[in-house]
């Protein structure tokens, strides 16, 4: 709904300042959003996701929320909770979103939270937002980003999550941060790179619950790990998609490569879904490096490599992202899928290795 945010999180791939005049001027009007929501409902969509930036920064948030719910859409709201007011919380009670609200949490203490969000006082507002939801028993789940600034809070966060009646299991934890999706700031990208967890440290994190991790990964790899070939889109991109704040329809939340977005000022959601995106889904990689590595790599399902990440990192759709490659290799070595000197794209007996992981 907007790329603006009241937080200025250090690791964020999209945020613009909350008062950014250019962004405000470019954002879709209420009527344009209503038209898009109507199109989505007419196409049979059951759920829409309102995200940002911080979607609650839009003055017309409640109006659009009600409009979507009256169309019979369920609303999945991604927010940092800082702007939840008693009135808004009451609205969620009266007209429930029918999807748990997803709240990003950046720390369990004012010092850590405010350091990540780079906004003094942000923690206090977040806490207040949470209290408003708790008082009314509104269902929400918690996601977090793990940075050096808040890594000491992990235990406290997990204890809090364990008491959350709407969550089963650990909070979604992001630490493999994406670079700026608009490729708009070299300085911010440098900062994001410096905040990324190292492959070694990521293993320490995963090994905290090693048995559970191994078990989950055995199932996961059996299902998803295999070479993907030269087809670029092996995910669900372009089957539902995501409209950005300015009316460009993207194949997924992340991918903002100008050649892959559809301008909704010039055509409908239906045209994008039935004509434009299906053509893009047939695109094949041409980068020799990609064809030699990713196309033949059985870790493809495990690795975060995809056209959107390639775009953010390199400005192309088919360049291997070394950081994700290293993370995937470290995990695969930890799981015993790779020997220390092997590269995954060279492995031919990957099927057997995945089988033995399942049996171990």
């Amino acid at each position: 709904m907007t790329e603006r945010c009241n937080n200025a999180c250090l690791h964020c791939y999209i945020n613009l300042p909350k008062d950014d005049p250019t962004a405000i001027a470019r954002e879709l009007s209420t009527d344009r959003w209503k038209n898009i929501l109507q199109q989505a409902a007419d196409l049979g969509a059951l759920t829409v996701r309102f995200t940002g930036g911080e979607p609650l920064l839009r003055d017309d948030f409640s109006e659009l929320y009600l409009f979507a719910r009256r169309l019979g859409l369920r609303v999945m709201l991604f927010t940092n909770a800082r702007l939840i007011t008693p009135e808004l919380a009451d609205l969620f009670v009266q007209i429930p979103p029918l999807k748990k609200i997803e709240i990003s949490v950046y720390g369990m203490r004012p010092e850590s939270y405010d350091a990540v969000a780079a906004r003094p006082g942000a923690f206090a507002e977040f806490k207040r937002g949470i209290e408003l939801l708790d008082d009314r028993k509104i269902a929400y789940v918690i996601k977090t980003a793990l940075l050096p600034q808040n890594s000491d809070d992990l235990e406290a966060l997990e204890e809090w999550v364990a008491r959350n009646p709407w969550m089963n299991g650990d909070p979604a934890l992001s630490c493999y941060f994406d670079l700026r999706a608009r490729r708009d700031s070299i300085a911010k990208n440098e900062l994001i790179r410096s905040l990324r967890i190292s492959p070694e440290k990521s293993l320490v994190l995963l090994a905290r619950r090693e048995a559970v991790y191994r078990k989950e990964m055995a199932g996961f790899c059996a299902k998803f790990c295999q070479p993907s070939g030269d087809l670029l889109f092996n995910c669900g991109a372009g089957k539902s998609g995501c409209v950005d704040a300015y009316g460009k329809y993207q194949m997924c939340l992340m991918l903002r490569h100008p050649q892959t977005v559809f301008d909704l000022a010039k055509g409908s959601l239906r045209e994008a879904l039935t004509e434009f995106f299906p053509r893009l889904r047939e695109l094949k990689a041409t980068n020799p490096d990609y064809l030699q590595r990713c196309a033949q790599c059985f870790l493809y399902g495990l690795c975060e490599q995809c056209p959107a990440k390639s775009w953010a990192e390199h400005g192309t759709l088919d360049t291997p992202v070394d950081y994700f490659c290293q993370i995937a290799h470290a995990q695969a070595r930890f799981l015993g899928l790779l020997k220390s000197d092997e590269m995954a794209w060279e492995v031919k007996d990957w099927g057997q290795r995945i089988d033995s992981l399942a049996k171990s």
Partner: protein, 100 residues
Amino acid sequence: MVPSITLNSICAPSQDVVAREIEGEVIIIPLTAGIGDMEDELFTLNETGKQIWQRLDGIADLKQIATELATEYDAPVEEIERDTVGLIQELAQRKIITVQ
């Protein structure tokens, strides 16, 4: 209190739900809080259910609706009446319809 449903009941879709037809199915999406137990799973009507639902206009009683459907589908009226009362009972329980 869930009202007891008879063939004389006159019902209408509740204002607290949105009914959507998606790929030929009628799906009922709660709008306000407290509609049945449908937080995450939505209530879907089968073909007969859809035919009944589309006739709930707050004017015709269930007997009229069942008779109309029995004629239209050339089916035994008792059976349709039973199905109609059964479905309406469930919809009333879930507060998807209002009963006059």
